[in-house]
Amino acid sequence: MIGFAARRLLQALIVMLVVALLAFTMFRFVGDPINQMVGIETSIEEREALRERLGLNDPVPIQFLRFAAKAARFDFGTSYQFRQPVSELFAKRIPATLELSFVSALFALLIGVPMGIYAGLNRHSPLSKLFLSVSLVGISLPTFFIGILLIFLFSVTLQWLPSFGRGETVQIGSWWTTGFLTVSGLKALILPSITLGLYQMTLIMRLIRAEMLEVIRTDYIKFARARGLPNRLVHFRHALKNTLVPVVTITGLQLGSIIAFATITETVFQWPGMGLMFLQAVQNVDIPIMSAYLILTAFLFVAINFIVDILYFFIDPRLRVGRP
C-alpha cells in the first residue's frame, strides 16, 4: 500500500514537472514577455535593464528552476491585461468556480445514481427506456447549447431565474465569497449547475445501469435470491455495493472535467469564475494567467487522480491482498 502510494506520488510529481515545463516554455517563448509589460515609448536601454532585472538573460535551466520555485508558491507575476498579480486574480475567482463545480457534481450524483439504479433493475420498463433516450440526447447536446436552451426557457421566456452572474454574495473569511447564503445567490446557481452537471449525470446514469445489469446476472446475486432474501436487501446490500467501485473512479475523474467544462458554462452564464478568466486570457494572449490556470488545473487533476487511486484500496479489498 505504501509502496503503491509512493509510486503514484512519484508519477504525480513527474506529471507536474512536465506541466510546469510546458507552462514555462509558453511563458518564456510565446511572444516576448518584456513587450507585454512595457509601453511603446519605453526605450531599448530601459527594456534591456528590465530584462536583466527579471533575469531573462540567465541560462534557460536556471530560469526554469526559478519559475518552478515561484510556481510552487503560486506566484506567476502580473497579468498582462489586468496589471494585477495573477495570484490575487485567481483568489478572487476560485470560490465561484469551486462552488459551481461542487453543486454540479452533487446534482449529477443525486439524480444520476437513482436513475441508473432504477434503469438497471427495471430494464424493460418504459420509464427506463425514457431515461436512456433522454441520456442519449443529453450526451449529444453540447454543453453550451444546453445552457442557451435553459436561458431561453427559464430566463427569457418564463423569467423565473437569472441568466448571468452569481447574484448577491457573502464574504467569508478574508477572501472566500459564497453564493450559498443569499436567495439570489442560490437562484443564480440553479441554471449553471444543471448545465454543467447534465453531461456527468447522464454518464453516471449509464454507467450505474450497465454495472447493475452485469452484477444482477452474477452467481452471488442468484444465490442471495435463492436464500429467499427480500429484493430490497439483494438490490441495495449486495448488488449496489459492487456497482460502486467503477462509479467512484469515474466520478472522481469526472470532477476534473467538471472543472474544465466550467470554462464553457461560465462563458454562457457570465459566471465570474476562473474558467471565464482563462478564456479571456486565451483570447488576449495573457500568458501568465494561461500558465497559472494550466498548472492549477493540472494540480487539481493530479490530486484527484491520486486520491481516487488510493480510495481504490479502501473500496476494493481484492487489491489489498497479494500485492507487493
Binding site: 509558453m26 510565446v30 442519449l136 440526447v137 453540447p142 442557451i148 464553457i264 493540472a298
Partner: protein, 325 residues
C-alpha cells in the same frame, strides 16, 4: 457502409493470391454479419438515413441552399432578423428567418454544417494519422520509445480534450499574433483538435500491434528481411484498423461538438467563415431581445447531426464487438 467496403477491399487484395476468384464485393457485403445487424436495428437505419441526408445537404450546400449567405450582393440589411415563416412579420423567402445581417438562416445552417463537417473530418483524419503512427511505432519498437510515447499519452489523458484545444489555440494566437485570424483559424482548429484526440488511437493501435507483432506472418516477413517500416505499414496496419474505424466514428461526433464549442467560445472559426458553433455564438447575443431563432435553429441542427453520428458510432461499436454477438 464505407467500413465494410474498406475491409472487404483489403481482404480482396489478400485473396488475390488465392486461386479461387472472390465473389463480388456487393454480394459479400449484403451477406455479411454487419449488414444483417444493420438492418435488424431500425433506429440505426433511421440514423444512417438522417446522417446521409445531413451530409448531402452540407456537401451540396451551394446547390441546395435557397440563398448564398456569402454573396454580399444578394443580402440586404433590411431583411435582418426576420422571424421564421410561421410567425408574425415573416417573409416567405426565409423559411427559418434571417440573422442579424439579413442572411437566410436555413442557407447559413447548410453552409455552417459544411464547415463543421470539414473541420470534423479533417481533424479526425489528422488525429488518426498521428495516433496510428505513434501507436504502431510504440507497439512494434517497444522499449524506451514505447515508454516515452505512452507516458506522453498518459499525461495528456489526465486533461480533458477541450482544455488542451483551448491551450493550443491560445499559444497559436500568441505565435501568429500579427496575422489576421481568418488566415490561420481553420488550420489551428484542426491542429488543436487532432492533438487533443490522438491518444485514444495510439493506445488502441499499440495494443493490437503488440498482439500482431508476435504472429507468424510478421515473423516470416522479418525473416526474409523486409524493413520494419514496410512491415508496420503494409502488414500490421491493415490488421489493426478495425477498432480504429470505430473510434473514428465516435470521435467524429466528439470533434464536431468540440469544434462547435471552441467556435462558440470565440476561439474557433471566425464569423466570416461561420461553422454551426459560430452561428450559435452570433445568435446568442440576440436571445434576450426575443430573436431566439438565430441561435436555436443552428443549435438544433448541430444536435441532430451529433445525435445521429453518435447512434451510428454506438451501433458500429456493438456490431464489431465479438463479446456481444
Amino acid at each position: 457502409m464505407p467500413y465494410v467496403s474498406n475491409e472487404e477491399a483489403k481482404s480482396a487484395v489478400q485473396d488475390r493470391t488465392d486461386a479461387q476468384p472472390a465473389p463480388g464485393r456487393l454480394a459479400r457485403l449484403a451477406d455479411s454479419d454487419i449488414f444483417h445487424s444493420f438492418l435488424r436495428s431500425k433506429i440505426t437505419v433511421v440514423a444512417a438515413f438522417v446522417t446521409l441526408v445531413l451530409f448531402a445537404l452540407a456537401l451540396l450546400a451551394p446547390w441546395v441552399a435557397p440563398h448564398n449567405p456569402f454573396d454580399l450582393a444578394s443580402i440586404s440589411i433590411l431583411d435582418a432578423r426576420v422571424p421564421p415563416v410561421w410567425m408574425e412579420y415573416a417573409d416567405p423567402r426565409f423559411l427559418l428567418g434571417t440573422d442579424d445581417q439579413g442572411r437566410d438562416l436555413l442557407s447559413g445552417i447548410f453552409y455552417g454544417m459544411r464547415i463543421s463537417l470539414i473541420v470534423g473530418f479533417c481533424s479526425v483524419f489528422a488525429a488518426a494519422a498521428i495516433g496510428i503512427t505513434l501507436g504502431l511505432i510504440a507497439g512494434y519498437v517497444g522499449g524506451r520509445t514505447d515508454a516515452l510515447i505512452m507516458r506522453i499519452a498518459d499525461v495528456q489523458l489526465t486533461f480533458p480534450a477541450i482544455l488542451i484545444a483551448l491551450l493550443i489555440d491560445g499559444i497559436a494566437n500568441g505565435i501568429f499574433g500579427g496575422l489576421d485570424r481568418k488566415v490561420y483559424a481553420f488550420y489551428i482548429l484542426i491542429a488543436s483538435l487532432a492533438l487533443s484526440f490522438w491518444v485514444q488511437y495510439a493506445r488502441t493501435v499499440r495494443g493490437s500491434t503488440m498482439v500482431e507483432k508476435n504472429k507468424e506472418y510478421v515473423q516470416a516477413a522479418r525473416v526474409i528481411g523486409i524493413p520494419s517500416v514496410i512491415i508496420m505499414a503494409r502488414h500490421i496496419l491493415p490488421n489493426v484498423m478495425g477498432p480504429v474505424l470505430v473510434i473514428a466514428t465516435i470521435n467524429l461526433a466528439l470533434a464536431i461538438v468540440t469544434e462547435a464549442t471552441l467556435s462558440f467560445l470565440g476561439v474557433g472559426m471566425p464569423p466570416t467563415q461561420p461553422s454551426l458553433g459560430t452561428l450559435i455564438a452570433v445568435g446568442n447575443d440576440f436571445l434576450y431581445s426575443g430573436e431566439w431563432w438565430i441561435a436555436i435553429f443552428p443549435g438544433l441542427a448541430l444536435a441532430l447531426l451529433v445525435l445521429n453520428v453518435n447512434l451510428l458510432g454506438d451501433w458500429l461499436r456493438d456490431a464489431l464487438n465479438p463479446k456481444l454477438r
